[in-house]
């Protein structure tokens, strides 16, 4: 029996359950963090009624959403309408399988882990677009059109930054990338200015693109409440909307994990001692907090401003960092 439990399929099953629980819990409690954060940034207390400091609020929200009727409005493309939220959630869950949470805590330590995350990440656009299109709603279709141009625009600088990182690290294995950043915090990729003096800028570009790709404010063009009601999610009720909402947080989680792994040394400790899962979680949640922070301090940009930022600033700068780091690699 013990021998059976230590086999690969059982390990994968344990990771599957673990990742789903992790994403579910985080999606629930990041909503609480978001609402608390929003409250504090706006000088009000946020949720306080349900449980101590509103800690049971996510459970109340979940019960409310689950008890509502799942309406498929007349005239929508029912099959696509139902599939879209799942298509948004599944890639995020699958991508988390290659994230190394600790020195030996990764579901699958494959050599093309980084590529896997971006391959699956590209399905998100498809999900929002199908959701918006199948809703047969003007707001939803406008939102879907926006999402495509936004994601196409921001995928380019993201991939350029990632190519720079692959060139510097020489691998797409995420655990290997973390292992290369061993030592104190100045060995982390974000501070390795001798490899490329623009490394902090690269990190900043990655973070901005991550915000844009997860459709977070100030780039939340998919769900611009003041202009498009709820964008692509307008027609969704009950858990259809709930799954979209959870998927947004799952994607934030994934993006912050990836930023941690690529730039902030993953599970390495900042003092060179005691590396472990704890450090990974601290760094990741710091980034998650930064995402919330940005959302409630910056107003939503205009759509043209958003595209201009990508095409006129981020893409040239990321191309420049790519060329610069390759030149430095060639010279030294």
């Amino acid at each position: 029996m013990l021998k059976l439990l230590s086999t690969e399929p059982v390990r994968l099953l344990a990771f599957l359950v673990g990742i789903m629980a992790f994403v579910g819990l985080n999606a629930a409690y990041l909503v609480w963090v978001e609402r608390k954060g929003a409250g504090r940034f706006q000088r009000r207390p946020g949720p306080t009624e349900v449980g101590y400091a509103g800690l049971l609020q996510p459970i109340a929200d979940a019960i409310k959403l689950l008890s509502k009727q799942l309406i498929v409005p007349q005239g929508v493309d029912a099959a696509l309408f139902r599939v879209a939220p799942l298509l948004m959630m599944a890639p995020a869950l699958m991508s988390l399988a290659v994230i190394p949470f600790g020195p030996s805590l990764a579901a699958r330590n494959i050599n093309v882990g980084l590529l896997l995350i971006f391959a699956l990440g590209s399905i998100n656009v498809m999900a929002i677009m199908l959701g918006g299109w199948s809703s047969r709603n003007k707001y939803a279709i406008m939102s879907a059109a926006r999402v495509v141009s936004q994601n196409v625009a921001y995928e380019i600088p993201t991939l350029l930054v990632v190519i720079t990182m692959i060139m510097i690290t020489g691998t797409m294995n995420l655990n290997e990338i973390v292992r290369q950043q061993a030592g104190a915090f100045w060995h982390w990729n974000v501070f390795r200015v001798w490899v490329n003096p623009l490394m902090p800028v690269t990190f900043l570009i990655f973070f901005i693109c991550m915000l844009a790709e997860t459709n977070r404010a100030p780039f939340d063009m998919a769900e611009a409440e003041s202009e498009l009601v709820a964008g692509a999610y307008t027609e969704y009720s009950s858990m259809g909307f709930g799954v979209f909402f959870m998927a947004e947080y799952a994607n934030i989680l994934l993006g912050c994990s990836l930023a941690t792994v690529l730039f902030l040394g993953g599970w390495q400790s900042p003092f060179g001692i005691l590396p472990g899962v704890l450090w990974f979680l601290i760094k990741m949640y710091f980034l998650v907090f930064a995402v919330v922070w940005v959302r409630w301090t910056f107003p939503r940009t205009q759509f043209y401003g958003l595209l201009n930022l990508s095409w006129k600033l981020l893409i040239p700068v990321s191309l420049f960092t790519l060329i610069l780091s390759s030149a430095i690699m060639k010279l030294y």
Binding site: K3, L4, T7, E8, P9, V10, D77, A79, L80, V83, I110, N111, V112, L115, L116, F118, A119, L120, G121, S122, I123, V125, M126, M129, L130, W133, S134, R136, I141, A144, A145, V148, V152, I166, T171, M172
Partner: protein, 177 residues
């Protein structure tokens, strides 16, 4: 590794699943009346194909299939449909020409499939003694820039022409209404 009961069976089931996904996607792509569902069928078919690539020990190719076909091609096609297609499909179509062209296409497809199958059966495939490359990024990069550099450059020229064409169309569209 093989201590788990029926692990071979699980692998075969996964293989059949990938195969079934691909066939199902292809059937949806061909059989659906709504254009958008056909694109979804194409996407499903690509996912199944990626699964088959994975079974052929090419995870890089499998992920590229996902990234390019699902993430880029299908998204572009859906975007084009959103700009162009009327919401309701037209039901008024003449049966005669449809049947004729459909029959011709079916005959051609069967002929191509049968000849490919015959080619695959009758060729004596030689199994290399060892794996030629390990499928790593470095091996792929080296072969793209040495052995297959001609194909690589031709593809980039094709993309350049496509971009120039799009620019030309967009430009004339703007100046001449």
């Amino acid at each position: 590794m093989n201590a788990f009961p029926a692990s071979n069976l699980i692998v075969s089931v996964a293989f059949v699943f990938a195969l079934a996904t691909m066939v199902l996607g292809a059937l949806i792509a061909v059989g659906s009346r709504l254009l958008i569902r056909s694109v979804c069928g194409l996407a499903i078919c690509s996912v199944g194909l990626a699964g088959l690539y994975y079974f052929l020990h090419s995870p890089f190719l499998a992920l590229m299939e996902l990234l390019i076909y699902v993430g880029a091609v299908c998204v572009t096609v859906v975007f084009a449909i959103m700009l162009a297609e009327p919401t309701e499909p037209k039901n008024e179509e003449k049966r005669g020409p449809t049947l004729f062209w459909g029959g011709t296409a079916l005959a051609a497809a069967v002929a191509i499939f049968w000849s490919l199958w015959w080619l695959g059966k009758s060729t004596g495939w030689k199994t290399p003694a060892s794996r030629l490359t390990d499928g790593s990024v470095k091996a792929i990069g080296v072969s793209l820039l040495t052995t297959y550099s001609m194909a690589f450059e031709l593809i980039s020229v094709a993309l350049l022409v496509a971009i120039l064409g799009a620019l030309a169309i967009a430009r004339t569209g703007r100046t001449k209404p």
